[in-house]
């Protein structure tokens, strides 16, 4: 009877021992990977932090207008009120009117 008890207890101990070591190792691995991931996150966060700053700098209106001048583009001008179209239909309607007027003008000049 006592032998069986001893065997059972040794068996349990060995299982517990192996579980303990597994858990311990797993914990260490997890800790390590958490630390590594954390470091990676920190590096990425720092990159993002500085990249955002760069983005806002290079997309700032002052920087863009400087670049436009350097590249000798025509300066951006405000759109005339009469040239603002709010939909494609508005645009086509006004274009139709313009072409009709042009055709009429051409006919008149031909008659003359």
């Amino acid at each position: 009877m006592s032998k069986i008890n001893l065997i059972i207890s040794i068996f349990i101990f060995s299982i517990l021992l192996s579980i303990t070591s597994v858990i311990k190792n797993k914990t260490r691995i997890i800790e390590k990977s958490i630390y590594q991931i954390d470091r990676k996150i920190a590096a990425i966060e720092k990159d993002l932090h500085e990249t955002q700053l760069d983005y806002f700098y290079v997309s700032s209106p002052g920087y863009l207008s400087k670049k436009i001048k350097q590249l000798a583009f025509i300066e951006y001008m405000p759109m005339d009120f009469s040239r603002i179209y709010f939909s494609y239909r508005d645009f086509t309607d006004s274009q139709k009117k313009i072409t009709i007027l042009k055709i009429d003008n051409e006919k008149k000049t031909k008659k003359k």
Binding site: N5, L6, L16, I23, D38, F56, G62, P78, S82
Partner: protein, 581 residues
């Protein structure tokens, strides 16, 4: 026998029956039991040990998984960058200011073996540095800074020198993405990240609040609009050869400042120590006699007090009026009889003076008091000017002729910020507004200075100043934006040879949403400029506000109008959709 009894614990005197057992066998059994008890205790002990170990590791795993943030707190990890100050963003979320990791270059003289060689290298790479000073510091043998706030190039240069004695000392540097654009608003921080001017100083505590580090401080300013106004104003300084200028765009309903430009400005990233007075924030700190801008206040008060209506004819307006030793007159010859609105449209000094006399000193004083024109303005900046009345020690002890001169904007000096805020109040239905540069969820309901009826009448007159033939602000009549406003040409306080030309516009004038102030210091006649004046192309020959400040305001409104219209549905529907229909 006694000994035996003592030894045998199971012996009982009263026992009546006996049985016999093998002593050896019993003794062996007892021994075994005893031995097994000892081994059981050990088993339990071991079991307990293993169990407690497992429990400890399990708890640790749970702790790691659940309390992850606390164990791997960014503070404990040196690779994490934690900013010492919060970001500052504009109303659209565009980044304006941020802390980044930067380096100072310091020298440990005892680690430098060949000093001569080191000095030659420094001279070659950094010709701007004073080599004598570096040499003296090296000789002293104490730790010193060679160069503060290194940029990437400088850091690489120093790195390539391969000197052990060069220490790269990390610190946090405040970077302003728009350099000059917000120079007068943001202010600066020192090397220890303490705000020393502007928003950085005013909100120093809030910007350093560790609980709010991830929430940027949002301003009411709009970077795109700020750039457009800054650009136009810079061009105006060149065109009119002006010594300085300023512009302020404010939401007429809630006092939000969308743009605040003061020229000349400076690059806040360079940390220059500027002592020139011309570099002050002219909008909030500068105190000026704004001239005819004040005439609108006089007319608004006269209408509010039911003394006159816009159509009331003021008869027999004299050419000149003598007040004490002063002689007050108009620049031009105006008809003798003028309606109240004509007085403002033509900007008649004498006409306004006659209206002020009708109002009386007592009512005029209380009106000025209600508008807060003589108090130091309230804005979230450290740089604020205090208004004053010339020749007076106390603001409300007016001597002879003060009412007369103040009625047309002379003898009283206020900040452009206050004048714009008062125009906003007159245009928005009479509600006094508190200018702000910080985005808020709710804005306080303030007291009224005039009724909404009077406000509508004033808006109509201001519109006529721009549209009427006799008006002084025709160049600001930008199609689609319904601009109204009033010009002011005055001599600079303390320097009568210099002009100060101002134009305050409100738009759209039917229900004003925005107030724009444009101010130019000592502008000259732009002889090369060709104006598009009421359909005619004319050359510049004049120097009043109507020919420079108004011209600049018109150009600004033409550019910012579409941006404001896009962002404001009501404005968009009313003034843009109309064009399509």
């Amino acid at each position: 026998m006694k000994r035996k009894r003592k030894k045998n614990k199971d012996f009982n005197i009263n026992q009546k029956s006996f049985y016999f057992e093998d002593y050896l066998e019993t003794n062996q059994k007892n021994k075994k039991v005893k031995n097994s008890n000892i081994s059981q205790d050990r088993v339990y002990l071991l079991f307990f040990l293993f169990f407690s170990l497992i429990t400890i590791f399990s708890i640790k795993i749970i702790f790691v998984s659940l309390k992850n943030l606390e164990i791997y707190n960014k503070k404990n990890n040196s690779s994490h960058f934690i900013a010492l100050r919060r970001d500052i963003i504009d109303r659209n979320g565009i980044l304006i200011s941020r802390n980044v990791k930067s380096f100072h270059a310091a020298i440990k003289p005892n680690l430098i073996k060949n000093k001569e060689n080191f000095l030659i290298k420094i001279r070659l790479n950094f010709p701007d540095l004073s080599i004598k000073q570096v040499e003296q510091k090296l000789d002293k043998g104490k730790y010193f800074y060679l160069k503060k706030r290194l940029d990437q190039n400088d850091k690489e240069k120093l790195w390539s020198l391969g000197e052990k004695g060069i220490i790269f000392e990390p610190f946090q540097s405040r970077i302003y993405t728009h350099a000059n654009l917000y120079g007068h608003i943001l202010g600066q921080v020192d090397y220890d990240n303490y705000g020393i001017s502007g928003v950085e100083k005013y909100f120093d505590k809030e910007l350093k609040d560790k609980k709010l580090l991830n929430n940027p401080l949002q301003l009411t300013l709009d970077t795109n609009i700020q750039h457009i106004i800054d650009d136009e104003l810079n061009r105006a300084l060149e065109t009119f050869n002006a010594s300085g200028g300023g512009a302020l765009l404010m939401d007429a309903k809630n006092g939000e400042v969308l743009s605040l430009v003061s020229l000349p400005n400076f690059n806040i990233n360079t940390r220059a120590n500027i002592k020139d007075k011309n570099y002050i924030n002219k909008i909030t700190k500068g105190v000026y006699e704004l001239g005819s801008i004040f005439k609108t206040f006089t007319i608004a008060l006269a209408i509010e007090k039911n003394l006159v209506s816009p159509d009331t004819i003021i008869k027999n307006i004299p050419r000149k009026i003598k007040c004490s030793v002063h002689e007050i007159s108009d620049i031009k010859k105006f008809p003798k009889d003028l309606s109240v609105e004509d007085i403002l449209i033509r900007s008649s000094n004498i006409g306004i003076l006659m209206l002020a006399k009708k109002i009386g000193e007592k009512d005029y004083k209380s009106f000025i008091q209600e508008t807060n024109l003589l108090n130091t303005p309230e804005l979230e900046l450290e740089e604020l000017g205090t208004p004053f009345i010339s020749g007076q020690t106390q603001s409300f002890e007016w001597n002879k002729c003060k009412l007369e001169t103040i009625s047309y904007g002379h003898g009283i000096a206020v900040t452009p910020l206050q004048a714009t805020a008062t125009y906003a109040a007159l245009a928005n239905g009479g509600n006094v507004i508190k200018p702000t540069i910080i985005k808020k969820e709710k804005y306080q309901d303030n007291k009224k200075i005039i009724s909404s009826k009077t406000s509508k009448k004033i808006n109509a007159i201001l519109r006529k100043v721009v549209t009427e033939k006799e008006g002084t602000a025709s160049l600001a009549n930008i199609y689609g934006y319904d601009v109204g406003g009033k010009t002011g040409t005055s001599q600079k306080y303390g320097n009568e040879n210099e002009n100060l030309n101002t134009f305050i516009s409100v738009f759209p004038s039917q229900d004003p949403k925005y107030v724009l102030l444009v101010m130019l210091e000592n502008p000259q006649v732009a002889t090369d400029l060709i104006y598009n004046y009421r359909g005619m192309q004319i050359k510049g020959t004049r120097n009043e506000a109507g020919w420079n400040s108004v011209y600049v305001a018109g150009k600004i409104i033409k550019k910012i109008g579409p941006i404001l219209a896009i962002k404001n549905k009501e404005f968009y529907n009313k003034h843009v959709a109309k064009k399509l229909n």
